[in-house]
Assembly symmetry: C2
Homo-oligomer: 330 residues x 2
């Protein structure tokens, strides 16, 4: 048995979550429902404009790993923070959830800080993300512990990290170590504009190195440059062994070996959509690692996603196993 | 018209809020439902033991001022943070709510940090508070701007600050400046054990300088060293012009000029009791400053308290004026 069921790699950050109306988004040049990268100056300026906020640890792959950990999975995370108050918060919350997190912190001092994502939640529950990457941008291959990657059944790579040139080599190193030891590789496309920025690199990686691809509808359409969702699903299913594609209120599609399941979403009042895809992936990977069939893994993903969109913040607050039991998938 | 309706003075801090069970409280020497002062070492140790948390600006009087501000009141706050990430969060959240906050930050560097309160919320919604005061402990008379105090219809003093020896003079300076300009003085007893620690100083201040006293049942019983609540109410009503005493699910008592109103609580599912008394005071002061009668102010207080106990965090999340309208008090 490998030490870890899932090891995630991504942008380590704390979410700064505030409510906002549509006018505020428009008036401040914020694209609704997507992730925009911002620099420290913009982060300070935007923060001064938003209403009262709360701080909850986030980071896409870190949310996924928090989900795996909350389910009782053996899991670890790799991502870079600084030795500052937000960095300590990030590290605490992941470890307190039961994940291993050993990436060395950048030393305290002037300069870049721990990354943060200013998330504006509109009344419809949609989230618009403004990410100051901070130290998470400087994840390099030196931060990858090959022994840890070799101990992973699955590694899970956050597409967002493709925005950092030095992280491509980090991903390559992790993939080599994991696959070399018989582990498997999963990746999430993260965001349609992130796909737009790195389509070729994503495509190469997916074809050559990825066993399981996570995406949502918009990301898949962007990846395969089509408006035909069925065609995009088919193209992706041809590129990877296993595809799990979420489609919001329409649920999720799971494709493998020529089979296709459409799993329904759990009807939920959307309070804050942040983390829906992350928790879908966490539950799906946990199910897979525990030998559930792909369709059941998809159901678990949809249940976990429905939990996280029912409250503010992108980490689970309810016992996910109990929810799985209630829905008859455990 | 004075520039400020209410100026609050208290411990500036960020709440670190986690769920816990009763066993955790017992196993870690945490007194349920009360506030315990802890040092930095204990804060670090306790933080490492608790589950995933979220950070939301708090501080008792700061919550009160956030309530006044959210209601549209002209309000300011005085309390000390450091120029660190938590200090910036505290300052942001208060200003974003519309309050004036100009207390100079302590400079960045080693040593004490911005204060924080590790709040453990048990399944019954009760909160147990573990406060590392940090820089909020070092509020001195130098931090009191006499011009600002003279511009206040009401000042609002947080009883907790009596734990800081240098803050007694700060309070005295604020009282002199406020009263000298025709303003009035309100104080909250904060916590039964805080009353125990400073009973004589509280008693002297209440008799000599306080126009409006806020307390809850346990604090009032502690103050007047009795188990007879009616006797405690009568004793307090004899000491101050106006008394507002909360009694949890039993609502609140308002006493002035020989009159006594018992205002009912709004039935609410308690998610997190933190801030109930703070928001009661904020709404009460806002009402008073807007010339509502004492009983109506008590009703406003109970409505605001019911809002804040219905969610995690001690700052209002719903439009309090809209709630007042719904309940027919506006």
């Amino acid at each position: 048995m490998k030490r870890f069921q899932v090891v995630g790699i991504g942008n380590a950050m704390v979410d700064v979550i505030a409510h906002s109306d549509e006018e505020f988004l428009a008036g401040n040049g914020i694209g609704k429902g997507i992730m925009q990268l911002i620099d420290m100056n913009r982060a300070v300026d935007l923060y001064a404009r938003i209403g009262p906020a709360r701080e909850i640890s986030g980071g896409s792959a870190a949310n996924t790993i928090a989900g795996v950990a909350q389910l009782g999975g053996r899991t670890a995370y790799v991502g870079k923070v600084k030795d500052d108050q937000l960095g300590l918060i990030f590290a605490h919350d992941l470890r307190a959830q039961g994940a291993i997190y050993e990436t060395p912190m950048a030393e305290a001092g002037p300069g870049h800080e721990t990354g943060r994502c200013i998330i504006l939640v509109t009344p419809d529950g949609e989230r618009s993300m403004n990410t100051y990457l901070g130290w998470s941008e400087f994840l390099t291959s030196a931060d990858i512990d090959v022994a840890q990657m070799a101990q992973a059944e699955w590694i899970y790579l956050e597409g967002y990290r493709f925005d950092g040139p030095d992280s491509h080599e980090a991903f390559a190193k992790a993939i080599r170590a994991c696959r070399g030891a018989g582990g498997k590789v999963s990746v999430t496309l993260s965001d349609p504009f992130c796909v737009e920025r790195h389509r070729d690199a994503f495509r190469r990686m997916i074809r050559d190195d990825v066993d399981l691809l996570f995406a949502n509808r918009a990301e898949l359409l962007s990846m395969y440059q089509t408006t035909d969702f069925t065609a995009a699903l088919q193209a992706a299913a041809a590129d990877v062994d296993l595809l799990a594609c979420t489609e919001g209120a329409e649920g999720a599609h799971v494709c493998t070996g020529g089979q296709h399941w459409h799993v329904p979403a759990i009807p939920t009042q959307v309070v804050d959509a942040t983390g829906a895809g992350d928790l879908f992936a966490g539950a799906f990977l946990w199910g897979l690692s525990n030998r559930y069939d792909p369709e059941t893994c998809g159901r678990m993903g949809c249940i976990a996603a429905s939990e996280v969109i029912g409250h503010i913040g992108a980490r689970p607050e309810t016992d996910l196993r109990a929810l799985f039991s209630q829905h008859g998938v455990l």
